[in-house]
Amino acid sequence: MEFLGGKLLQVVIALAVFAAIIGLIMLLVDRAPKTVKDKVTVAGFLAPAAILMLVGLVYPAVRTSMLAFTDARGQANGMDNFVWMFTQPEAVTTLRNTVIWTVLVPLLSTVFGLAYAVFIDKARGERVLKALVFMPMAISFVGAGIIWKLVYDYRGPGIEQTGVLNYIRDALGLGPKQFLLDAPENTIFLIIVMVWIQTGFAMVVLSAAIKGVPTELIEAARLDGANPWQQFRNVTVPGIRGALVVVLTTITIATLKVFDIVRTMTAGNYDTSVVANEMYTQAFRAGEPGRGAALALVLFLLVLPIVVYNARVLRKQREIR
């Protein structure tokens, strides 16, 4: 209790400090001379965010970019880290896996989420059905990893199975399977965990978008003789295009950065490593910060176009409105 009280006090104090700093800035801005007031106001309100951006984002990004061209001792080594990345078989596997993840997870999550959203739309108990699929979103990636590790657990043939899936396989007479060890399908079994989490997100966003499609349009399509698939394909999907793009890009970015699931379930062994996991392993466990930074840089370059695309789509939509 004492511990909890201390933490609560810290939270309250942190909030108070935040309020005090904001108050201080407002006060100082307010006291600026009339002639330069506009500029001071703009600078005053931008400064905290700008400083935090510089310290927390720009500086680390620049430093990481520089680190990417150094070896374990901090000496510049040109493109060596990148040569390593694209030639070492394990590093190539890592890149390959990341591609598989980024293709499959957004696609499957969105398809399942969309299908579910369409089927339960206006169904009885819609809220409960939604909550069921949305619930995995509330579980941390590490928690999900541990849960699924138990689901995939393996014991040899003839020994009582502790994992649900192998128990079922045994009951069906298929014999147990090393889900997490058998490459390359083990990557798929890890992807299932991510899809399980992200489907809820896709479903909730798309369901809201579907409800925003004007019923008049759908009715008109029905009167024109469109069957349900044609209604869905030609009316609903174009109507939710913006939401689809947001869902796809958001999940893609989350997937590119996936780390926790892989680290918890296989630690990147058995050909399942992905860029983010390898980045951490190289930088902090193997003592090769240069290689870690190089991987981080590649990850950044991979995420960048998606973020740019996302931002542009959002801006276009705003212009339409």
Binding site: V17, L24, Y154, R155, Q178, T281, F284, R285, G287
Partner: protein, 446 residues
């Protein structure tokens, strides 16, 4: 009224000051009444109200014993030791040191990790008093492990002996199996048990989160030391010979005769690859259940048996040392131990380090059971189990060839990354030569 305008900034400053004081973490227990006899602790001085933060890999009951063994030191010196154990230590210590959030003292489970931190300039050299104590209480080999580039940084703490083979004495007696004296005898026994058919001869488990594979490195090290000798072992861990040297690959194959043979493993769990999905702490269990005859694991396995298991030569379970390949060359054992390095050199940290290097600490801790030390001032009779006593005598015997766990001596990129991963790939079916080549290519250049 004008004064009110200055009230807000003043209040803000006050709140900020409060925050800073609130950020200092709450102090734990410690202190207490000093009713015990403190004469033995006079040498460490008085440091009333001071705190030393300690970070290590040791958790659960072992952590409780550790804290208990310095409780009197806390009472007598007034120092509060704020202990934090984490299984993520190996990855987190580097992160914390880089982030400027290092503990006062870190208990390193690996000399390699210690060397990395020392070379990065994060650690403070050990005080002279600690250095003298280590000269007095430990062999030169042990001191060497705490020395980086000629500077002595860390004193050894506890030790463990690796390479024990655990078995159920009753099963051996019932079946008429003899404890092997040489490697060849052990392979013959393995064959006999496999032919007998009531159980698999061996069980193993290498799963350990992101450290998966490490128990396999112990196997390889034991065989390199015994089959190729201490000279080759030293050259191997210091990279004077490459990792894919034929003698090392040969040792992989020697171990592979057991671990990669589906007739010999994996009692109680399944096939060869189930070694990778079995947690190292559960892997010995089938020895008690009678579904597996032998389990290779360090002395700390004694703590992994369920409560109430009698660990004794005539008990539920007992261990023999992995036998030598050539018995005439004497006993060679591998082992491990922790190294205590400091990120600060305040008087209270120095006092704590001196205590940890003393024989008082070793005796205190060993009396609580479940631990041993190579400290020469340790009385073997303080050991709480027959196994601990046997291990202490092995460690203190000047005839024994002792070598530190090889993976712990290799650079982090190998010893706590590619070697583990190599073992995983090898058990998963990659040929030994290819595994050794891959590990060799990961060895940091220069």
């Amino acid at each position: 009224m004008k004064n009110q305008k200055y009230l807000l900034p003043a209040a803000a400053a006050g709140v900020l000051a409060l925050t800073l004081s609130a950020c200092t973490p709450p102090t734990g227990g410690g202190g207490g009444t000093a009713t015990e006899d403190c004469s033995a602790y006079d040498t460490y001085g008085k440091h009333e109200g001071k705190t030393v933060s300690v970070y290590s890999t040791i958790v659960d009951t072992e952590a409780t014993s550790l804290e208990e063994s310095w409780a009197q030191f806390e009472n007598c010196t007034g120092i509060t030791v704020r202990y934090e154990g984490s299984k993520e230590f190996e990855t987190q210590i580097g992160v914390r040191a880089q982030a400027g959030n290092a503990p006062d003292v870190a208990i390193f489970p690996q000399p390699g990790l210690l060397a990395d931190q020392a070379k990065a300039g994060n650690l403070k050299p050990a005080p002279q008093k600690v250095s003298d104590l280590v000269d007095q209480n430990w062999s030169a080999d042990w001191k060497k492990y705490g020395t980086v580039d000629g500077t002595f940084y860390a004193s050894p703490m506890l030790a463990n002996v690796k390479g024990y083979v655990w078995y159920a004495p009753k099963t051996f007696q019932d079946k008429g199996w003899e404890v092997p004296k040489t490697w060849d005898e052990m392979m013959t026994l393995t064959r006999t048990i496999a032919d007998d058919g009531t159980m698999k001869p061996w069980c193993a488990g290498f799963e350990s989160g992101e450290a998966t594979g490490w128990p396999g490195t112990d196997w390889i090290e034991d065989v390199v030391l015994r089959a190729q000798g201490p000279e080759v072992y030293d050259q191997w861990v210091t990279h004077q010979i490459p990792f894919n040297d034929p003698r090392i690959v040969e040792s992989f194959n020697d171990v592979g005769e057991i671990l990669l043979n589906p007739d010999y493993v994996n009692g109680g769990f399944g096939d060869v690859r189930s070694i990778l999905s079995t947690g190292f702490a559960q892997a010995g269990q089938p020895v008690l259940d009678g579904t597996c005859a032998m389990h290779h694991q360090a002395s700390f396995q004694a703590a992994n048996w369920p409560a109430g298991t009698n660990v004794a030569p005539d008990g539920d379970v007992w261990a023999f040392m992995t036998p030598p390949v050539d018995a005439s060359k004497g006993t060679a054992i591998t082992g491990g131990g922790e190294m205590i390095g400091a990120y600060k050199d305040t008087p209270e940290v120095q006092a704590y380090l001196a205590f940890m290097a003393s024989s008082d600490f070793a005796n205190n801790r060993v009396k609580l059971g479940g631990a041993i030390s190579a400290n020469k001032g340790l009385d073997p009779n303080n050991a709480q189990s027959e196994l601990d006593k046997q291990s202490i005598e092995l460690l203190q015997n000047p005839e024994t060839v002792f070598r530190f766990d090889g993976a712990d001596l290799m650079p982090g990129a190998v010893g706590s990354n590619s070697f583990w991963k190599g073992i995983v790939a090898w058990i998963n079916g990659t040929p030994a030569q290819q595994v050794a080549d891959s590990i060799e290519s990961s060895w940091p250049k220069g």
